[in-house]
């Protein structure tokens, strides 16, 4: 018996009718760089659309596991993306309510016997229907202290991550080397996480674009010489110790604002325009210690 006549399936209309397009565009616009993250989000969005299409023709569509692990150097956007991931997944239709509960070890681990389980379960109940974000997840596991109750919290997490996959998405974040050691000692946790995403360091161009976006959000603008100066600053700062990507750039911009404010204050007799309040000049950037070979403070 031949297969029944199959009508052509239209993915394009489904895409245009859903809210997926605007979510992806907002992501591309508001976060600079982060190619692996954006690729993965696009893949999840495509899977969502295909699943919906499969449902219309009666094929089975099961929700994939969405637990994620974000690793990377300081200031590469792990916490920022995790905070956005809740609303992204909600607008893609993967989580029901789309709220984010951000916890660290203290919120999960108790101080005495019998304290950990209720504490962890309370947090998990609050996070149901949304995303649970565990920052610095490796602190949960303290092998050197046998009276530590972190292992209990991990056990409960493992159970919930496996059984209540449709209700909760767990995102762990932390620095790469420590997270790797953490996963090696907790293979169950590592295997339950479907998406291990590494956040690469930003390039100079990306850091400059981030700086411009930050300034735009704070309603400042750079003069042309200041823009050149900022590019040089970024290249120099990268070579110095304790470079923290976007966070270093944000700190630098805050210091530049301080210097701009000081400059304006010292010239306070002279007439001041709105433009002058908004513009960060070349001196405000170039008077940084970084240009003289000193340490950024």
């Amino acid at each position: 018996m031949s297969a029944p006549e199959q009508p052509p399936l239209d993915l394009d209309t489904l895409y245009r009718d859903s809210r997926v397009a605007e979510t992806l565009e907002a992501l591309d616009r508001e976060l600079i760089g982060l190619k692996p993250v954006k690729t993965r989000v696009h893949e999840i969005a495509a899977l969502l659309l295909v699943e919906r299409l499969r449902q219309t023709v009666g094929l089975e569509a099961s929700a994939p596991s969405l637990h994620m692990s974000f690793t990377g150097n300081p200031g590469t956007g792990k916490t920022t993306v995790a905070l956005r991931m809740a609303s992204i997944l909600h607008s893609l239709g993967y989580v029901r309510k789309g709220h984010l509960v951000a916890v660290t070890r203290d919120d999960l681990v108790g101080q005495y016997i019998g304290h950990t389980a209720p504490k962890t379960r309370e947090v998990l109940k609050k996070a149901m229907g949304g995303v649970l974000f565990i920052d610095e997840a490796y602190y949960l596991y303290r092998p050197e202290n046998e009276r530590d109750y972190g292992q209990e919290a991990i056990e409960i997490l493992l159970q919930v991550m496996e059984k209540e996959r449709e209700d909760l998405v767990v995102i762990l974040a932390g620095y790469k080397d420590r997270m790797e050691r953490f996963f090696q000692s907790n293979l169950g946790l590592s295997s339950r996480i479907a998406h291990h995403i590494d956040f690469p360091d930003y390039s100079d161009e990306e850091l400059f674009a981030i700086a411009q976006l930050m300034l735009q959000n704070m309603q400042y603008r750079l003069s042309e010489e200041a823009a050149t100066g900022l590019r040089e600053y970024i290249a120099l700062r990268r070579t110095q110790p304790h470079f923290a990507n976007a966070r270093s750039v944000r700190n630098a911009l805050d210091r530049a604002r301080l210097r701009q404010a000081k400059r304006l204050f010292e010239a306070r007799g002279a007439p001041l325009t709105r433009d002058a309040l908004m513009t960060v000049g070349a001196d405000d950037i170039r008077s940084s210690r970084v240009f003289g070979g000193g340490i950024a403070q």
């Binding site: 309510k97 109940k125 229907g129």
Partner: protein, 138 residues
Amino acid sequence: MRITQGTFSFLPDLTDAEIEAQVEYCLSNGWAVSVEYTDDPHPRNSYWEMFGRPMFDLKDAAGVMAEIRGCRDTFASHYIKVNAFDAARGVESLRLSFIVNRPENEPGFSLAREEGKGRRVRYTTRAYAADKPEGARY
């Protein structure tokens, strides 16, 4: 006889999906949901035992359903009810309270008469279940 205490008590037992829908309604109104159990069916028994703490700040019914399931597993033949508490100023009381679990056989109530001074008769209800000690009633 089915005791008819709380909301929906004249309807057939709510399915899990219906309970979840009711809990979602409560949570969407910002009410705190709690689970209580008892084996004393007297209508004036207003202080049931709490199962776990009241759940404030919950966004989704999945957590509450897990508590209800846990309570059903532990106390399969007790009465279990779900309360929703509204903390808004001026209300500060329960908004919704419905039974989600009953024992298989509910023996019902008897009417007890007490003759007092001047041959005045006072009436009260007594639950047949209360003849047995707590914990061994159903």
